[in-house]
């Protein structure tokens, strides 16, 4: 199927000024370009979690699996193993992917499963109206922590580097062209691709000024250098001051989980014979 309208008629309910619009637009442009290049979108699947980010499954007119909170990655892994021809893209939230589903994220990186994970990291729970997430800064005052959080944030970029992800990047919802490039690179990458997108939450965590003063592009960085990638990732701990690098931290080519795990199918007749052979061995 080609020439489709990439946006569904579903009513969009994101707040005005929400960073999700930018992420969706960048993704839409990447998909449109893919179609222009003569590649069908029939083999693309979007998997979303639960949260404001996840509404993108309703809005983008492509195959989608609107999954559970924190459970994009196992579904995406199943889809990819079932049909390695699929291009599988996860859109997750930070509460979604770094709290409820953190184990899946680490294991996906460890396995190097060929999927793309885009984290809409607004550093606050939006849909449940303003609680802290794993990337909220220390002292964040949310509805569950009115006196401020007592725990430091995770650094997801550093975590993904340590977990074996082969494509690690960070984008920002106010830097659309860069975001589009990162999405395109991640989707093309053979292996586990991770992009933490700093996303403005217009309602609960509007920190555009804070980001504006700190972000810079990783222009002179060698993405093949893991140590340098760690160093760049540690410049900002998602809490205090420090410069916030945007762009690609790390890139490597390694064998993928799907290449290693997927079995060569057998015909029904071959299987029935195998069943009989197994039974014969047990007699």
């Amino acid at each position: 199927m080609t020439g489709r309208d990439l946006i569904t008629p579903a009513q969009n309910t994101w707040c005005p000024g929400c960073g999700n619009f930018t992420i969706q637009h960048a993704l839409k442009r990447v998909l449109a370009k893919r179609e222009e290049d003569g590649k069908s979108l029939d083999n693309v699947v979007l998997v979303s979690g639960i949260g404001c980010h996840a509404k993108i499954a309703d809005y983008l007119n492509i195959n989608s699996f609107y999954s559970l909170h924190g459970r994009t990655i196992p579904v995406a892994t199943g889809l990819k193993l079932a049909n390695p021809d699929l291009t599988v893209i996860c859109c997750c939230g930070d509460g979604d992917c770094y709290a409820e589903g953190l184990d899946h994220l680490i294991f996906a990186a460890k396995r190097n499963i060929d999927i793309t994970v885009i984290v809409h990291d607004n550093r606050v729970y939006g849909l449940t109206t303003g609680q802290y997430t794993p990337t909220s800064p220390l002292g964040f005052k949310g509805r569950s922590t009115p006196l401020g959080t007592s725990e430091s944030p995770l650094n997801p970029v550093e975590l993904m580097l340590a977990s074996g992800a082969t494509f690690v990047a960070r984008g920002y919802s106010k830097k659309m062209p860069q975001l589009e490039g990162l999405f395109q690179g991640a989707i093309r990458h053979r292996g586990f691709a991770f992009i933490d997108v700093l996303q403005i939450c217009a309602t609960f965590f509007p920190v555009a000024d804070y980001y504006g003063e700190r972000v810079y592009d990783l222009a002179d960085h060698d993405p093949g250098d893991l140590s340098a990638a760690f160093w760049r990732a540690r410049e900002w701990d998602y809490s205090g001051e420090g410069k916030i690098a945007l762009g690609q931290f790390f890139l490597a080519e390694r064998p993928t989980f799907d290449d290693r795990v997927v079995a060569t199918p057998r015909t029904a007749a071959e299987r029935e014979q195998a069943v009989r052979d197994i039974l014969s061995g047990r007699t």
Binding site: D58, G78, S280
Partner: protein
């Protein structure tokens, strides 16, 4: 003698289960129908293990073991101490010379190994040779069983076995039985073969006793079966991955026990809402919580039937033995896909880890329909509201359609909705699939009657208790009624099977009589219960005793 029981006991790590399997194969090739139950604590080394192997001349595996043993093979002193009460006046006791003190025949294991310059691991072959001679089993059968089942170091193992065979006296000759040698399979493996015959593409599981045997079996055979096998980070990932497979048109099954299934329930509810088929082997052990990890129970029937938030149809089948497990696992996978519902194969330790003589059932699945895509016109509706409740399926990767799968309440296209009317209509659509599921089940034997079918007193049981109930019911002249399908509950078939019964006694391995409760909800009266919940399966002796107390 057409009913023989052998107990092999020793320390964990002594290879008791493999020794038991060899004894089972000897009885198999002697013409007996076999059941083997392995009793072991949850540890790797030390502790006392034993297997009980029973062979009968009946055409079907007995599926249960009695409390007495005709042969006791004691590889350690604990076997003699703990199982002394199983000995009858004419029972035969063989023991390891120098290691065990007992009245019986000593097997000079150490001396034989030294003479044959054999490694310690071959010590059990001496025992098996000794047992074969004590039971008067022809050497040619011993030779055949060793050649078929000990592919490594066969000749040396046979020399060790022969050496013991020549030193032991035949005291309790076991005559040849009437049956041809058949495959011996445990319940987990039977589920695996059934799923394979149902068209399984992938098996996904996190290890948990007593279900792990299926993971090990399918992983070991994955290449020749053409099966993708994955062991992910936890049971949450397990079921979600399986749903990913289903959304890409690949048939996936998962396996676990109660604790792992707790973690799967959010994924199960998603399967119900998103209408994605997945088959779960739920192998029960003694609960609650960690419970007795290596012992049996039937306390999760209610849990499996009701698990997951919200209301959606599901299939729950509880086969009683390995042959039935093959047949019903194929059917469960077929029905899950035909009706786009989650399905369960509910077993327990007794069935999952028990070894049975099996007869491969005929593959009785209906011819698969088309993929239903012929009817699609205009934009594809993943959740089209049809009279059967079943929407023509399409999958991620199906050319020319956009497939939207959704965990939220959704419209026919799969787009999220909060509209009350749409929500109610889609709920009704999903629940209609239960009726379609019932229709699809009609050709199968959902309720099995055995024992004395016309007796006025009936035993109501389910799952692995079927074997012990049938044996005891036959002996006591009781009707035995066993629903294999537990959800959708086969109310009218059960009523028909119980017609004329004036007294119904539920026999279950749980403390609250869960099947009796389900029967009651369906208007079927149960007059009394016989329950066991110490982690051990009923034996024919204790069941007979307790049934006599209530009939």
């Amino acid at each position: 003698m057409d009913d023989v029981t052998v107990l092999v006991g020793g320390k964990a790590g002594d290879g008791i289960n493999s020794a038991g399997t060899m004894v089972a194969q000897l009885l198999n090739h002697l013409g007996y129908s076999v059941y083997l139950n392995f009793d072991y604590p949850s540890l790797i080394r030390g502790g006392h293990n034993f297997t009980i192997i029973r062979g009968t001349a009946a055409p079907k595996s007995p599926g249960t073991c009695g409390e007495k043993a005709d042969f006791l093979l004691a590889l350690d002193q604990a076997t003699v101490e703990q199982h002394n009460n199983r000995l009858k006046p004419d029972s035969v006791l063989l023991y390891t010379e120098g290691l065990v003190k007992a009245n019986g025949q000593a097997v000079p294991v150490k001396e034989i190994l030294t003479t044959e310059q054999a490694p310690a691991v071959m010590g059990n072959s001496a025992f098996i040779g000794g047992f074969a001679r004590a039971a008067g089993i022809d050497w040619e059968i011993v030779d055949l069983v060793f050649r078929r089942h000990i592919p490594k170091g066969t000749d040396q193992n046979l020399r060790v076995a022969r050496s013991a065979y020549d030193r032991i006296a035949t005291v309790r000759p076991v005559p040849r039985g009437p049956n041809p040698p058949r495959p011996l399979l445990n319940g987990n493996e039977a589920v695996g073969l059934g799923l394979i015959r149902g068209g399984l593409d992938a098996y996904i599981s996190y290890p948990m006793t007593p279900s792990s045997g299926l993971l090990h079996f399918l992983a070991g055979e994955s290449e020749r079966l053409g099966l993708t096998v994955v062991h992910p980070e936890n049971e949450i990932a397990v079921i979600l991955m399986a749903l990913g497979f289903a959304a890409a048109k690949k048939r996936a099954a998962v396996g676990t026990s109660g604790g792992g299934f707790c973690l799967m329930t959010e994924g199960l509810s998603l399967a119900g809402m998103a209408e994605l088929p997945v088959v779960t082997l739920m192998s029960q052990r003694t609960g609650p919580s960690t419970g007795l990890p290596t012992y049996t129970g039937q306390a999760d029937l209610r849990f499996v039937i009701h698990a997951g938030q919200g209301e959606f149809p599901r299939l729950v089948v509880a086969p009683s033995d390995a042959s039935e497990a093959i047949a019903w696992s194929s059917r469960a996978l077929d029905l899950a896909w035909r009706c786009q519902v989650p399905a369960f194969i509910l077993t327990d330790k007794t069935l999952s880890e028990g070894t049975y003589s099996i007869d491969l059932p005929d593959r009785d699945l209906p011819v698969p329909g088309g993929d239903g895509m012929e009817a699609v016109e205009g934009p594809y509706q993943r959740y089209a509201d049809t009279p059967s409740g079943i929407s023509p399926p399409a999958f991620a990767g199906t050319a020319g359609v956009i497939v939207k799968v959704n965990s939220y309440a959704h419209d026919e296209y799969g787009i999220t909705t909060e509209d009350g009317e749409v929500t109610a209509a889609m709920t009704k659509k999903r629940l209609r699939k239960a009726e379609t599921l019932k229709k699809n089940l009609e050709s199968y034997p959902q309720v099995v009657v055995s024992g004395a079918p016309d007796a006025a007193t009936a035993v109501l049981c389910w799952g692995s208790c079927g074997s012990v109930c049938t044996e005891t019911g036959t002996r006591l002249g009781l009707r035995v009624v066993r629903p294999v399908v537990l959800e959708p509950f086969p109310k009218s078939l059960l009523e028909a099977a119980l017609a004329g019964a004036t007294r119904v006694i539920a026999v279950e391995e749980n403390a609250t009589a869960q099947l009796a409760g389900l029967a009651h909800e369906n208007g079927i009266r149960v007059h009394d219960t016989v329950l066991r919940y110490d982690g051990r399966p009923f034996t024919p002796e204790d069941l007979a005793l307790r049934l006599r107390g209530v009939i």
